[in-house]
Every structure is written in structure tokens, then in C-alpha cells.
Symmetry: C2
Subunit: 157 residues, 2 copies
Amino acid sequence: MAGAPYLGEMTVTNSKLDKAVEASLEAAGQRYTRARRAVVGTLAGADGPLSAGELHARMSGSVPLSSVYRTVGVLEEVGILVPHFGVKGLTRYELAEWISGHHHHLVCVECGNVDDVGIPADLEATIREVVGAIAARASFDPVGHVLEIEGRCSRCS
Amino acid sequence: MAGAPYLGEMTVTNSKLDKAVEASLEAAGQRYTRARRAVVGTLAGADGPLSAGELHARMSGSVPLSSVYRTVGVLEEVGILVPHFGVKGLTRYELAEWISGHHHHLVCVECGNVDDVGIPADLEATIREVVGAIAARASFDPVGHVLEIEGRCSRCS
DNA sequence: CCATGAATAGTAACAGTTCTCATTATCGTT
DNA sequence: AACGATAATGAGAACTGTTACTATTCATGG
């Protein structure tokens, strides 16, 4: 779980990840199969969102591409994965925040890579306040927020 | 310009929009043609980012789809448009912030619509502080930020 | 008004994603 | 443990948003 650094707010530990996922799938009448375990495990070991193609590659082709697509689809429906739409129409997935912990993204404008970053509770509280204030003005009922920081990563600057 | 409500920070007024765009194109040795005027005008009148297909439709097919793609491409290169990557691999474009003013997005999780929202300077300053603090911890050199508020819009709640 | 080069329109090619369906694996029952 | 019912998989075809190509049209400078 390289997910979010700086956190004490990790919601589900790695050893319990399987249990949590299995429970979610079971609640939806779905099975926790080999392909699904592989996808979840790969995402748990990643340090940012991955696309279907990237997942396929990281699993060295052990799960066919079409199955990866189907798998991320059901995992998303069940609430285990969350899609993240990136450059050039690439859809990347990552573990939902109730599993991986709430975090934000550092998007490198040079190399396009996306890294997760967890932030301290006080900064997070500030963001939540701002989001609430904005939403209230727009008669918008907020359920979440995404903060992406664009810039140059340490490798590119 | 339905772009960003609540702002006093509008950078370029509607009447001067053409001048600004023309100058940018000229500086890059590009012409401000009919198709390009149509795309800029349509985006200026929109209340959120539009995809190539949506632009094509809003201009009632007066500009062929392939031309829309080419046009948004050059307008992006010249710095007039900014891409916004959304659901299902759709790339939507909107006027760059130096033209439309800095703003954020209200993303409706029900209908998928994206609306622009401008925010007061004090809230914006708060966000910038938070972004700076996060980036500093991650040795990341920030050049911008995107805050998306997810929730239910007034029509869907 | 003509010549030169840019911009366009239409079509073909592409890549990521979704769909289809025959095959295989899984679970509950006997 | 074997069976039957049902879900999940694998391989490829099909679909959709996007890009590339090329002949034609348009705009600008001489």
C-alpha cells in the first residue's frame, strides 16, 4: 500500500484489505475471484491510479485486457474502485478512499504521472470548509471533493 | 460569458475577447478564421467545458467534426483553450483562465454535468496556501491547481 | 488579379473501451 | 465426491472518440 504517505488516517490495513473487498463483493452478490484479487492487489501496491492497460501490463498479461476492463467495472460498481479521468481520455482507477484513505493528487505537467498524496488533518479540514462555502453559494449538495495539484515532480524539475 | 459567476476577477471582458484571442493567434503566426471564431464564441457562451462533439452539435454542424478537433488543437497550443478530461474518455475544452478568470468545477455525480464556479478571493487565497503547504512537503513544484466539488446539482437533488 | 501558403472538409486509420458468446470456474446441493 | 446451475472468464469483433492524410478551398501579399 504505497497509496497515501503522511497518513495516520488509513482506513483499512493491508492485511484486512481482502476481507473488506470480499465483504463488499459478497454484499452485491459477486464473487472474489482470482482476476479480481489480482487487480485489487496490483492497485494496492501502486503509488497512484492505473489504467486498464497499465494494470494489464503490471500483471504481465496474466489477466486478459478485456477481463481487466470487466473487472474494474464491477469493482467500481461495488464501490471498491474509483475512476480517475486523465490525459488523452485515459481512465485510471484506484482504491476507493474508504479503503486507501482520503488523499489528493500531484499531477506532473511534464511526464503526466499522477501520485497520491495524503495531507494532515488540519489542512484537510480547511479544504472541507472552503468546499462547503463554495457549494453553499451555488446551491450544490457536496458529497466529496478532488484537489489536484499540477506542477513538476521532483524527477522532472 | 456564463463562465464563472461571483467574480470580480474577470480578466478579459467579452467585448475584448476577440482582440485577446486574435493577438494570441497572431503571435503564433496563426489566423483567426471563421471556424476558430465559432469555437471561441461557442465556448464563451457556454457555462462549462465542452467536448469536440458537443461543440460540433452546438454549432449545428456548421463546422465539421474533424475541423473542430483540429481547431481546438491549435487553440490549445496557442494557450487560448485548456483541456479538461472527464467521464468516459471525453476531453472537454474551455477558455484558459487568463481569459475566463480562475474558477473551479461543480461536478454532478447524478447527471455528469460540469459547471464552472468562481470563488471569492479570500477562499481562493486559502486554497493556494493549502496547495503550497502540500506541495512543499512532497518536493513538488506547483504551477496550478484544480478543485472539483462533487455532489448533486440543484436539478438533481 | 494572380500566386503562394495556410486552413478546411471529407475520409480513412487508430486506440481505448465495450460487447458477444462459447468456454471455464465456482458454489450449493445431493 | 459428483452433479447441476449460475457466474466469471477469455478471445476477438464491434464501437466510439480522436487523429492523420490529402485534395480542395480560402485568405493574404505582391
